[in-house]
Symmetry: C2
Subunit: 428 residues, 2 copies
C-alpha cells in the first residue's frame, strides 16, 4: 500500500466539520477505494476551543493557516475558510508555492482570481480542485471536465443558489411576500453573512463563472456575467407566473452564439412542469448540453455539511488516486478571453407593470411596446389595488434590447407606478 | 506534448460510428483537454464495405477483432460489438493479455463476466472502463466511483432502460395497449434484437448489477437481482396508476439493509410528480443516496449514437490523461460476494385483480388479504367489463412476502380471472 495521504484542513465551519466526520466515519472505505490511508495531520481555524461536536484532539493545531500550508506532514491543503481575498488567498498561494495540492470550496476566490491561481498551480505542478465550490454535493465539475470532456458544450443552465430557490419556492408555497421569507431564511441561517451575495445573484454568478471556464475554455471572468438578483420579485410575480403555468427561478445561462458567449444570472421564468420548474427548496440543478450527449441534468443539495463535504472528499479521493488534470480542464495558459455577446437570442419575455388607474393607460403602454417593436402575445390585467392596476404581459419572442427599449418607452408614458419588472422566459 | 493515444475500434454500429464522428469533429478540443492527439489506428466490423456515412478510409482494417487488439499501433481497444460471450469476450481477453487498455459499452459481458475480467485486467495493470454500458450519456459510473467515492452509498434507484420507459409513457400519453406500443417501438428500431432483453428487464438488470458492484463493493452478480419485466403491464394498470397520482416505471432498486443487499429490477409505481414520475420517453434517471451527499439525481438520454459515444470518449479522455483506477472502484480481489436479502422493507403495494361478476366476490378477496396480514388502504372498483370487474387495491405498508401470500390466497378463492398484478409503490 502507498503511504498515507496527509491533509491539513484550514477552516472548521460547517463544511470543515463535515469533512472531519467523513474521514473519521468512512476511513475503511476511503482506504479500500484509494489504496491508501487518508489522514488529517493538522487543522487551523479561528477558535481552538469552540465545541464543534467532533473530536479534533488527535490533529495538530495551527493558529496560522499559512503555517499549516507549509508543514512537512501535509500533502494536501484543504481551504474552507472562504472569502475572495485575505487569508484564503494567502493560504492558497502559500500552498502552491510549497508544492502542495489544494482542495477548496471557495467560489468567490476562484471566480475572481482563478486564472492567476490556476496558472501558478499548473506551473508548480500541483492540483487545485474545487468540486465543492459549485452546486454543493453534485459532482458537476467532474461531469463537465471529465465525463463530458469529449463534447463541445453548447449551453449550461441551472439553479446554483439554494437559498434563492428556497425563498422563491417558499413564497409560492406559503403565499408569503419576499421580505417575510427573507427574514425566515435569515433566521434559519440560510443566508451568507452578506446576504447580497445570495439574493443579489453574486454567489450563483461566481459558480457560473467557473462552469463557463471549463465548458467553453475561457478565462474565468466574473464581470462577463450579466447578474441581477431576486430582490425585486414580488408575490404578485410569483402568482402571475403560476397562473401562466410558469415558475420563477434565479437561473444561470451560458451559451455559445455566433457572436460570442452569452452569460447571465438572473430571475427567469421556466415551465412549472419542467425539471427546473419542479425544483424546490434548497436544491440545485445543472443542465448541460453538448454536441454529442444532447442534454444531461444533475440535481442535488446545493449546500449543507454532508453534501459539500462529500464534494471535498471526492476531490481528495482523486488526488489520493493520483489523478491530475488542469484546474479548468485544459491548461490555464490556453484559456481564451471570453468574447461576451449581448443577449441577442429572441425569447418570450414577462413584463409586469403597475398602471395608474386612468382611462387609456393600458392603450398607452401597448402603444409604447409596439413602438419598440415588441408584440404582445398574452396580457392579463388583475383587479385594481388602491389606485393602481397590475398588468402582466407575455411578449412574442424578442430581444433584451427591445425589452429594455420598450420598458423605457413605457415609463415615459407617465402612466406607470415604478419601473416594469422584466424577466426572460426560458422555455426549452 | 505526449505521444498520440492510438485507438482500435471493434464494432462500427451506431455507437462506433458516433465515436468516429466525435473524434473527427472534436479533435482539437480533445487535444486541448488531454494534452495529446487522440487518433484511430484501425477498425474492425462485420462488413468492410457497408456505407456508414462516415469516412473510415484513413484507418487500417482488420477482419479479425482479436488481431485488432494485438496490433502494436493500438494503445486502447474500444469494444463496441456487444454480446456477453463470443467475439466481444475474446477481444477483451486478448486486449488484456496484450496489455492494452479497454473501453467497452458491453453491459451484458460485464454483468456476467465482470469479476473475472476485472481481476485479469487489474493483474495486467490495464484499464477496463465502461461508462457507456450504463445509462447512455449520463456520466453515472464516474459520479459513483469517483465524485461520490467518499460516501457510504445506501441506495441506488433508477430508470435504466429507455425503451421500457418509452413504451410505458407512450401507453399513458396515447392511451394505447402494450402490444400496439411494443410493435411501434419495434418498428422504430428501439428494441434489441432479442426484445426480451429490454421488456423483460434483463438489460436494465445488467446495468444495475454494475452500479451495485461499484456502490456497495460487491462482486457483480446478475443473478442476485430479482428481475421482472413490463410485459404484463396493461393499459388498465397505466390508467389506474394515473388515477392515483402515480406512474409505472421499470425501476431498479438496490439498497443496503441490516440483512444484506436488496436488489430488484421490476415495474413499480412512483408519484407522478416526482423526478422519476416525470421522466418521459427514452430518458434514463439514476438516483444515488449516500451518507454524506444525501441524494443526487442524474438524468439524460439512455441510448443513441451521440450520447453513448459521449460516454465512450469520456473514458478515452480519462485514459489519455493517465487516470487509472480499479474497474469497479476498488481492487476486484477486495469485492465481497453480495449477501442477498429478500425484500423485507415494508412498502405500500398496488394490486390489480379481475373479479368474476359474482355476489360476494369482493368480500372474499378482502378476506384473503386480511388473512395474509395485508390491510387495505384504498380500493377502487371499475365498471364491469364483460363478466369481470377490475379492482385496484392500494395496501398499507407491507412486505413482498405478505403480498405473495395474499395473492396466492386471493387466487384460491376462485373468484379471480387470472393472476393478480402486484407492484410495489416506491414513494420516496
Amino acid at each position: 500500500m502507498t503511504s498515507p495521504l496527509r491533509l491539513g484542513i484550514a477552516g472548521l465551519g460547517t463544511v470543515g466539520v463535515g469533512l472531519v466526520r467523513i474521514i473519521q466515519r468512512n476511513a475503511d472505505l476511503l482506504t479500500l477505494r484509494t489504496g491508501r490511508e487518508i489522514v488529517i495531520s493538522a487543522v487551523s481555524a479561528k477558535s481552538r476551543t469552540r465545541n464543534r461536536g467532533v473530536d479534533i484532539s488527535a490533529y495538530d493545531w495551527e493558529d496560522d493557516p499559512v503555517a499549516l500550508a507549509r508543514r512537512d506532514d501535509v500533502d494536501v491543503v484543504i481551504e474552507l475558510m472562504g472569502g475572495e481575498n485575505g487569508p484564503a488567498k494567502a493560504l492558497t498561494e502559500a500552498a502552491i508555492d510549497a508544492g502542495k495540492d489544494i482542495v477548496t470550496a471557495n467560489k468567490a476566490m476562484l471566480a475572481l482570481h482563478g486564472q492567476e491561481l490556476a496558472e501558478r498551480a499548473e506551473e508548480m505542478g500541483v492540483a487545485l480542485r474545487f468540486e465543492a465550490a459549485v452546486a454543493g454535493g453534485i459532482p458537476v465539475i467532474k461531469a463537465l471536465s471529465e465525463g463530458l470532456a469529449g463534447n463541445r458544450i453548447t449551453r449550461i443552465k441551472g439553479v446554483m443558489n439554494g437559498t434563492c430557490n428556497y425563498i422563491l419556492t417558499r413564497m409560492e408555497d406559503a403565499g408569503l411576500p419576499y421580505e417575510t421569507v427573507f427574514d425566515e431564511a435569515s433566521q434559519l441561517g440560510y443566508l451568507e453573512a452578506d446576504p447580497t451575495l445570495d439574493v443579489g445573484g453574486i454567489d450563483a454568478a461566481h459558480k457560473l463563472t467557473l462552469l463557463s471556464a471549463i465548458a467553453f475554455g475561457v478565462k474565468p471572468d466574473f464581470d462577463a456575467i450579466q447578474t441581477s438578483g431576486i430582490e425585486r420579485i414580488s408575490i404578485e410575480d410569483i402568482r402571475a407566473a403560476a397562473d401562466l403555468g410558469l415558475r420563477i427561478k434565479l437561473l444561470g445561462v451560458a451559451r455559445v452564439t455566433g457572436r460570442g458567449l452569452e452569460q447571465s444570472m438572473s430571475p427567469c421564468l421556466v415551465p412549472a412542469d419542467s425539471p427546473l420548474g419542479q425544483l424546490k427548496g434548497g436544491m440545485n440543478m445543472i443542465v448541460i448540453e453538448g454536441d454529442a450527449v444532447e442534454q444531461v441534468i444533475l440535481r442535488g443539495p446545493g449546500a449543507g455539511e454532508g453534501p459539500t463535504a462529500s464534494a471535498v472528499i471526492g476531490d481528495v479521493v482523486d488526488i489520493a488516486r493520483g489523478m491530475h488534470l488542469p484546474v479548468f480542464g485544459q491548461p490555464a495558459t490556453t484559456l481564451q478571453a471570453a468574447v461576451s455577446a449581448k443577449a441577442t437570442a429572441a425569447k418570450p419575455w414577462y413584463l409586469r407593470m403597475s398602471l395608474l388607474d386612468k382611462p387609456g393607460a393600458l392603450a398607452k403602454v401597448a402603444e409604447a411596446l409596439g413602438n419598440a417593436g415588441v408584440s404582445i402575445n398574452r396580457m392579463r390585467q388583475y383587479g385594481h389595488q388602491d389606485t393602481r392596476a397590475p398588468v402582466v404581459i407575455i411578449t412574442h419572442k424578442t430581444t433584451r434590447d427591445a425589452i429594455d427599449h420598450a420598458s423605457a418607452l413605457a415609463v415615459k408614458t407617465g402612466v406607470l407606478v415604478g419601473e416594469p419588472v422584466a424577466m426572460a422566459i426560458e422555455e426549452d
